[in-house]
């Protein structure tokens, strides 16, 4: 069972290792001649104005909250999708009820205008 995860592990090790090696190599053997212009943050060619750490508008918050809720919903769909054929009609109806209640919630959010950016 666990053998099937070996490729995942290899992929993870290689990707982390690649990023690490590239950064380390360029740090070690790369030539550096810093000037003031080179050290400022890259902002698509413009000269940056102020700090990039600006406060987010609170409107993102509600999007993030709704994202979490529907993310949890998807988490519950996962075992259903894996076992779809065995569960059959009963599973489909059960899932439909589950989704229906949350879709009504989504309709509510939509009607409330919470998805609009005002």
């Amino acid at each position: 069972m666990l053998e099937s995860y070996v490729p995942v592990l290899i992929l993870g090790v290689i990707s982390v290792g690649f990023a690490f090696v590239t950064l380390a190599l360029s740090h070690l053997i790369g030539e550096r001649k810093p000037t003031e212009e080179k050290l400022i943050p890259y902002e698509c060619g413009n000269v940056p104005i102020g700090t990039a750490r600006e406060r987010f508008p609170v409107k993102f918050y509600i999007i993030a909250m709704l994202f979490i809720i529907f993310d949890v919903e998807v988490a519950f769909m996962f075992p259903w999708a894996v076992l779809y054929e065995n569960l059959g009609m009963l599973g489909l109806i059960e899932m439909l009820i589950f989704v229906l209640i949350l879709m009504l919630g989504l309709a509510y959010v939509w009607g409330k205008g919470a998805l609009e950016w005002e």
């Binding site: 996962f78 059960e94 919630g105």
Partner: protein, 185 residues
């Protein structure tokens, strides 16, 4: 055998990343370290043959909850200096309590093997953990499953009612100033 070593490796990385979460001065780095902790825990779950929990760990914690964490950090714009003060005050007590807890866990962990009762529900050998969860979620646990959708609905209402900006009564709808994140673009 190799599983055991891998488990130790993941646990070690998880501890290192957890320490990094605490001692980083930049809260965004802390959050990134916490993501690492979550991923390492997910790896450990895979080693324990609990693939479903591992997947949920990644989807829910790394995918959703950490987004919210990072978002709150961005929203509040926590400054470095304040955090540093918080970190130094009362450090001795924290260290004492932490070491005491660690010692206790080590003693309990090594001195007695706590036997965990196998669950009453039979686990079919030919199904992997996701399928077992699915099998029972859609039969024995069907009522809790549907009630969860009601609980999530309440969560939606809460997000909309409490999360949205609401103008005080009587105030006219002001001109909305659209503010984007990267204002220099």
């Amino acid at each position: 055998m190799i599983q055991e070593y891998l488990g130790y490796a993941f646990s070690f990385l998880a501890v290192v990343l957890a320490i990094s979460t605490i001692i980083q001065k930049n809260p965004v780095y802390s959050a990134a370290s916490l993501i690492g902790v979550m991923l390492m825990l997910a790896c450990n779950y895979v080693l324990l043959n609990a693939e479903f929990i591992a997947a949920i760990q990644v989807i829910v914690y790394v995918g959703a909850i950490m987004v919210l964490f990072v978002f709150v950090i961005m929203l509040l714009n926590i400054e470095y200096a304040k955090r540093e003060k918080l970190y130094y005050r009362g450090r001795i007590f924290g260290v004492i309590i932490g070491v005491a807890l660690l010692l206790k866990l080590l003693i309990v962990g090594y001195s007695m093997a706590i036997k965990i009762q196998q669950g009453d529900l039979p686990v079919p050998k030919d199904l992997d953990s996701t399928k077992v969860v699915g099998k029972y979620l859609f039969s024995n646990y069907i009522l809790p499953f549907e009630v969860i959708s009601v609980v999530l609905l309440i969560g939606i209402i809460g997000a909309v009612v409490l999360g949205r900006k609401e103008r005080p009564n009587g105030e006219q709808k002001e001109e909305v100033v659209v503010k984007t994140i990267g204002s220099t673009h």
